[in-house]
């Protein structure tokens, strides 16, 4: 297990290195420069400023310098926010995004599993159909449309929740729901399909023959097995939340990391672009690692294969 973990961490570092390299060079292809008054300055004046930011060095030199800092955990200083280290910006912004993402993932998967479960138990009934409709709508309509609708109905018209901004728990409710709809739909679909399949398998028939109660069959034997494939989609779901948050944060005016990422790309704030990209990448990799470990816990066959 330790060896397995060590190997995974090593792979993670390599992945991050590759991502850092790719993003660095991709970013350099972006048109423009971090200068704001570019149209007003003479070439000579631009040179003086670029020199100060180290942007006059050849790109490989800049790349080497950046990696050097990265190894020491130094992500550099933002170009946009004068004198503010990128790490400070990330720390400042990660909280709201992480909270929203976590809440949305929990709410989404619990609701989704419940919906899927109901649909599979009452198969081909109105409950099943409405659950399927909800799932289809949830997957096909982008979260920002939901966000706008929720904001209009529950905040502007009914006045139950704040329109936007950040601070209290009540501020998190609408954005969490908007973000949760997509994971919920995914979870519902997966749970239903898997449950239907599992409930037809031989060991369920055996359990029934042994006289296990219906609730025991569904929860203990059925759901546990149906959840394994669901864990696989948790990863993509989490990534969906990260990208979804960029738009949701803008609509609800939340000081999150997704919103910051978009802004820094717009103004060519190179160090912040790199910092946020690496943070997203890191988050994704960690989630995948956790899911792989969870797999081993839930499914003994995988544990054997991974631990050899």
């Amino acid at each position: 297990m330790t060896r397995y973990l060590l190997r995974r961490v090593w792979y993670m570092l390599i992945t991050l290195f590759i991502i850092a390299t790719f993003s660095f060079f991709l970013m350099k292809i972006l048109p423009g420069s971090p200068l704001n008054a570019e149209d007003k300055l003479s070439e000579e004046q631009k040179e003086i400023i670029l020199e100060k930011y180290g942007l006059n060095d050849p790109i490989p030199v800049q790349y080497a310098k950046y990696l050097g800092g990265l190894v020491k955990g130094d992500l550099g200083v933002s170009f946009k926010f004068d004198n503010t280290p990128v790490t400070a910006i990330l720390f400042d912004r990660i909280g709201p995004s992480a909270l929203l993402g976590f809440q949305a993932l929990v709410v989404g998967s619990i609701l989704g599993i419940f919906l899927g479960l109901m649909a599979s138990i009452f198969r081909n009934s109105p409950i099943d159909f409405s659950s399927t409709i909800i799932a289809v709508i949830g997957t096909s309509i982008p979260s920002f449309v939901f966000a706008g609708l929720l904001q209009y109905v529950f905040a502007v018209k009914l006045g139950w929740f704040p329109v936007a901004l950040w601070g209290e728990f009540e501020h998190t409710i609408l954005p969490t729901i908007a973000l949760a709809i997509h994971p919920m739909a995914t979870a519902a679909r997966f749970t239903r399909t898997e449950m239907v399949e599992v409930l037809h398998s031989n060991y369920i028939i055996t359990a029934r023959a042994k006289g296990v109660s219906e609730s025991g069959i569904i929860l203990k034997h059925g759901l546990r097995n149906a959840l394994i494939p669901l864990i696989t989609v948790l990863g993509p779901m989490a990534v969906g939340l990260m990208t979804g948050s960029m738009v949701i944060e803008q609509i609800f005016a939340i000081p999150g990391i997704g919103e910051q990422f978009v802004t820094s790309v717009m103004v060519n704030d190179y160090p912040t672009i790199m910092g946020t990209t690496l943070l997203f990448a890191f988050g994704f990799i960690v989630i995948i690692l956790i899911i792989d470990l969870l797999y081993g816990l839930i499914d003994p066959r995988i544990r054997l294969a991974g631990g050899k």
Binding site: G32, Q45, N83, D92, A253
Partner: protein
């Protein structure tokens, strides 16, 4: 000698006190008349939306509208612009200009204080201005705003001479002597700009790299100060600065700001009464144009087509350019596409920007230089085609890629190709940064571009089209235009009448040459609560001025 000087100082002090008392008195009586009606007293707090975080509060490093907005609210330079766009008392109470117009001697008030209690002195200006052009600072606006204006600014920035050679000296604590490269008639308005604000050297050096990154690392000498703020904050408060020399004029106690980027969200917050002002994007205007609080705020940015004479042979022909600049309906563009109160531009210098010496609006005096006129456009077009010896011309239009820009590009292309037979307009829509690169490389035919003023003088627009001017980038060159415009900054610099004549003549020449095709002058549509009073917009620098603002009764 010394005694005389002291006398002068005392005299000016007494005078300034007298003046201050007078103006203060005026306001108070006005207040007294109002008070009974205004009872009960309303809380002097306003809630506003900001379009983004404030990335920098360092006057030397600030570059965007938000930096200048909050620098203007929390700090004060030599002068401040009042409601009419005239300079009013700031840290300076008066100035004298030498006969050659190159030496400006400012007398500073002695009662101005930083928020830590230190006096604001002439040395604070010297330090700040030197810092702005010091290459080690890496300022963008320092060399841009001061270069060619203050003596040696460009040389200092290039590192050719040490910073102490910059043409700004303190003569004692309260006299600032500024030496200029040339007589600069608009220098007075320049001193209101963020880059020219003073800095407390001791404080800045003590804070080092953390200077101006949070409320604790800032010093204020203006009407307001931050009570909470960090450079990445999405929410902050400004409160009245009690140490401000003119604190008695400031009525507003507090301004609360939140960052909201989505226009629909901004309007929703406004409707809920959580904010007192919200901007309207073009798609929201129709829905809210009949709202009681709907307001149009005029702006001084002008947008036009740059016609590059060096790349496409057709555009080198003056008749072709003259045809293009008359062949599109601007009124329909501002009404249907922009839909936010923007107005048609028929010249270069914007409306309501600068007055002529006899007090009229420059735009009005200069009149419509080029209007939408299909008949004339066709005449020029036929002539141009005949001279070129062709029947068909293809021209590329370079424009922005934002939603509204795209609509405008398509509209212009359609208008031009419909009204000018044989003209095919192709579109190239790119992000702003890329457009600038293509502009610098002069790699375009026609370009949809715009300009906002850097100081209150027609020169800020006129110098764009000087031969080899940094922003010309379209191969326009007319020696007579150059002569007229250059004279306003050199030989005629001190003669307002003659300068005005030159500007008028130069603008005429520009459009006889059909160098550019003006399209529109920007405005923005907003919802503003009627309780927001005494807030006005500036033609340049800080967008809003809050010094004289107050909260009126709600209804």
């Amino acid at each position: 000698m010394k005694k005389q000087y002291a006398w002068l100082l005392a005299l000016s002090l007494v005078l300034s006190m007298f003046l201050a008392a007078c103006s203060g008195g005026d306001k108070e009586t006005a207040d007294d008349n109002k008070k009974p009606a205004d009872e009960p007293k309303v809380e002097q707090t306003l809630n506003f939306i900001n379009g983004d975080t404030i990335p920098s509060m360092d006057p030397s490093l600030g570059t965007d509208e938000y930096a200048f907005q909050f620098l203007g609210a929390t700090m004060e330079g030599l002068y401040r612009l009042d409601e009419k766009g005239q300079v009013s008392d700031g840290i300076a109470t008066e100035h004298k200009v030498s006969d050659d117009g190159k030496t400006w001697t400012f007398t500073l008030r002695e009662d101005a204080k930083w928020s830590n209690g230190d006096p604001v002195t002439a040395n604070d200006f010297v330090y700040a201005w030197q810092r702005a052009v010091d290459p080690a600072t890496g300022s963008e606006y320092g060399p841009y705003m001061m270069g060619g204006v203050i003596k040696n600014a460009t040389a200092v920035n290039k590192g050719e001479v040490p910073v102490d050679q910059l043409g700004v000296k303190a003569d004692g604590d309260f006299t600032l002597v500024v030496e200029l490269e040339n007589a600069t008639p608009y220098f007075e308005s320049l001193t209101t700009f963020g880059t020219f604000l003073p800095l407390n050297k001791k404080f800045v050096e003590e804070k080092g790299d953390t200077f101006a990154t949070s409320a604790d690392t800032l010093l204020s000498n203006g009407p307001f100060k931050f009570s909470t703020w960090t450079s990445t904050a999405q929410e902050w408060d400004l409160v009245k600065n009690e140490t401000y020399w003119d604190a008695k004029t400031v009525k507003l106690e507090k301004m609360h700001y939140v960052v909201v980027k989505d226009p629909q969200t901004a309007v929703d917050l406004y409707e809920k009464g959580e904010v007192d002002r919200a901007g309207l994007s073009s798609d929201l205007v129709d829905q809210y144009a009949t709202h009681d609080d709907y307001t149009v705020e005029p702006d001084t940015s002008v947008f036009y087509l740059k016609l590059n004479q060096t790349k496409n042979k057709a555009l080198a022909n003056v008749n072709v350019r003259a045809a293009i600049s008359r062949a599109f309906d601007k009124q329909a563009l501002v009404d249907e596409i922009l839909n936010n109160g923007s107005i048609v531009a028929n010249g270069l210098v914007p409306k309501d920007f600068v007055p002529t010496p006899d007090g009229k609006d420059f735009r009005e005096v200069s009149g419509d230089q080029v209007t939408y006129d299909v008949k004339k456009a066709k005449e020029f077009w036929e002539k141009g085609l005949a001279e070129l010896g062709t029947k068909e011309v293809t021209i590329e239009l370079l424009g922005g890629d934002a939603e509204v820009s795209k609509m405008m590009n398509q509209y212009l292309a359609n208008q031009l190709s419909t009204n000018l037979p044989g003209l095919k307009v192709t579109l190239k829509e790119v992000p702003f940064e890329q457009r600038l690169e293509l502009d610098t490389a002069m790699d375009y035919d026609m370009q949809f571009a715009g300009w906002g003023p850097d100081f209150l003088d027609p020169y800020t627009y006129m110098n764009l089209w000087l031969t080899d001017g940094g922003n010309n980038q379209m191969g326009y060159s007319n020696p007579e235009y150059d002569k007229l415009v250059n004279e306003t900054a050199t030989t005629l610099a001190q003669d307002p009448e003659a300068r005005n004549k030159n500007f008028l003549k130069a603008e005429k020449i520009l459009f006889e040459d059909a160098a550019i095709a003006p399209v529109y002058q920007r405005a923005s549509a907003l919802l503003v609560s009627p309780k927001v009073q005494g807030v006005f917009t500036n033609a340049f620098g800080a967008t809003y001025e809050y010094k004289w603002a107050s909260v009126g009764a709600a209804e």
